[in-house]
Symmetry: C2
Subunit: 328 residues, 2 copies
């Protein structure tokens, strides 16, 4: 392990994770903070209205989170990706258009005024359904995943980054050709936390969870043409009518939603039997791998934090080699 | 208008409406109260856990809401439908199985111990997708709609009751043969109130709302095989990228969700060009009528409160003619 050299961070919708890194991008320490959605909610309730574009005190939050490190190692350059560059983040950073070669991404990094902080741009495309689509943070995970698994840069690869807003990205020779978003994780959390549909009477334990999840996965397959809306109420009706294995309706719901996401994406991208690469938290990539297995699609996985870190280290290395006031 | 004779109430998931009625069921006065979901949330936060089956103080709430009437007219018999009879309501009342003739519903009414209050049972069926399905309250609206529009009791009719949990019911000669639920209204409210997807920067006015709604309706039609999940992010991406007419992403979302509900239901019930009867609040029945018009399906509408009231009056009239201690 080398000396502390820079701070790397993925500032997402639902959480922020900062890493203290050595020059090669090996994490020496980490700290977690709030995502921009939580900050935006706190900020909008503070001013009494939920307006977009309310500027958050990202600068203050960032400074307080890294204080232990800066007091020990002095000022350190930082590279951030994710919602930090969004219209509800620290500073709006323009999107880079697809098809996006890694170089285009690296060149699009923007330095914050008065601080040695760079923010990685997000990507924009017109997706397969003809709509504009956006990502912030996942592009850096993809960049890192390619470093960790260079096979992803060869030919055509379908990549899935499950999360609050799951992204399905098509890579062509290592550049992001196009992608599409499904807010699967956000919908799950909303329904689990606020809906009468999945109010659970008892924790079913891990074994019950897995059965209910698997049942949800397979349920959608029984009626592939049906709208998801007409299956969601089963989370409640199957529990109320006392069906066995429905002690954990949230797990059944998770299975339904992930199956809907996976079936929809496979219909759009038709990868056939080619391996889909999953990038994300292990619990999520396992769940998506199970859904893809039901569809006979093989998968391989890259851990999401490791991918983000590798991507941020690649950005840092590029910036350090670039001439100019912000180079190390 | 006759003298005050009974209290009629529809105690739903999201609200309670009580009517003071004369003997023929004409409303003399009304008062609104909280739905059982709001009560359950308040109750579970009061005891510090979100457990199903927590008994609510429906009795106390009911008594306080009708106090003005009882102090003026003395004790009055009451007939309630809806979630009052659910496991999170006042008293669990067993479901009646479909196919459900009106008589079966009337016979299934249960009297509360120690109070002249009857609760109408809900209906249960195995829906067209093979899952158990449930309704509470809509059966009374259907009963009332048939009184207001007797043509609904002739032959086969598809009825839609849009709401928090939209119901699509197939009537055969005036009895409910089967039905299916879509939690369209609940999903809309969750996404509008809690999601980053539809955070709106400005109110677009009614005209803009209607355009965005209509665009959402037609958007799903462009890709009928797609999963709803892969269209939801457009509520955000189209606004962020500055597309015209997307000032009100909630209206676009509403169009997407209602179109998904309507397309799914039409695929399941295949009513062809036969008229679909809509029972509900005028703003909702208008929105569903617009979605059905896009699919070239004609509609007719019955106002939901009027239907509930007519149904409750029919129940009251039946109970009043029935011998026993609870007859008037």
């Amino acid at each position: 392990m080398g000396a502390a050299a820079f701070i790397a961070g993925d500032w997402g919708t639902t959480n922020l994770r900062l890493f203290l890194c050595d020059e090669r991008g090996v994490a020496l320490d980490s700290v977690d903070g709030p995502g921009v959605a939580a900050l935006a909610a706190a900020s909008s309730s503070a001013v009494g209205s939920a307006r977009a574009g309310t500027r958050l005190d990202c600068s203050g939050i960032f400074a307080s989170l890294v204080q232990t490190w800066t007091s020990r190692y002095g000022g350190l350059p930082a590279v951030l990706c994710g919602m930090a560059g969004s219209d509800i983040g620290w500073m709006p950073v323009p999107y880079v258009d697809c098809p996006a070669l890694p170089q285009k991404l690296l060149d699009g990094c923007v330095a914050l005024d008065g601080a040695d902080v760079h923010i990685v741009p997000g990507l924009r495309c017109r997706n397969r359904l003809g709509a504009p689509d956006l990502m912030r943070g996942e592009e850096t995970q993809i960049l890192g995943a390619i470093r960790l698994d260079p096979g992803l840069a060869e030919g055509r690869n379908l990549v899935c980054l499950p999360g609050t807003h799951t992204k399905w990205a098509l890579l062509q020779d290592g550049s992001v050709a196009e992608f599409i978003t499904a807010p699967t994780g956000e919908l799950f959390a909303l329904l689990r936390d606020h809906s009468i549909l999945v109010r659970s009477s008892a924790a079913g334990g891990d074994a019950a969870d897995e059965r209910a999840f698997d049942r949800g996965l397979r349920r959608l397959r029984e009626h592939p043409q049906v709208q998801l809306l007409h299956l969601l109420f089963e989370c409640r009706s199957r529990r109320i009518t006392g069906e066995a294995g429905m002690e954990d309706p949230a797990a059944f719901l998770s299975g339904l939603l992930i199956a809907s996401d996976v079936r929809g994406a496979l219909a759009l991208f038709a990868p056939g039997r080619r391996t889909v690469a999953l990038i994300g938290a292990p619990a999520l990539t396992r769940a998506y791998a199970a859904a893809l297995e039901v569809e006979s699609v093989p998968t391989r996985s890259v851990e999401g934090s490791a991918a983000a870190l590798a991507g941020l280290a690649a950005v840092r290395s590029h910036l350090a080699q670039r001439p100019g006031p912000h180079a190390a």
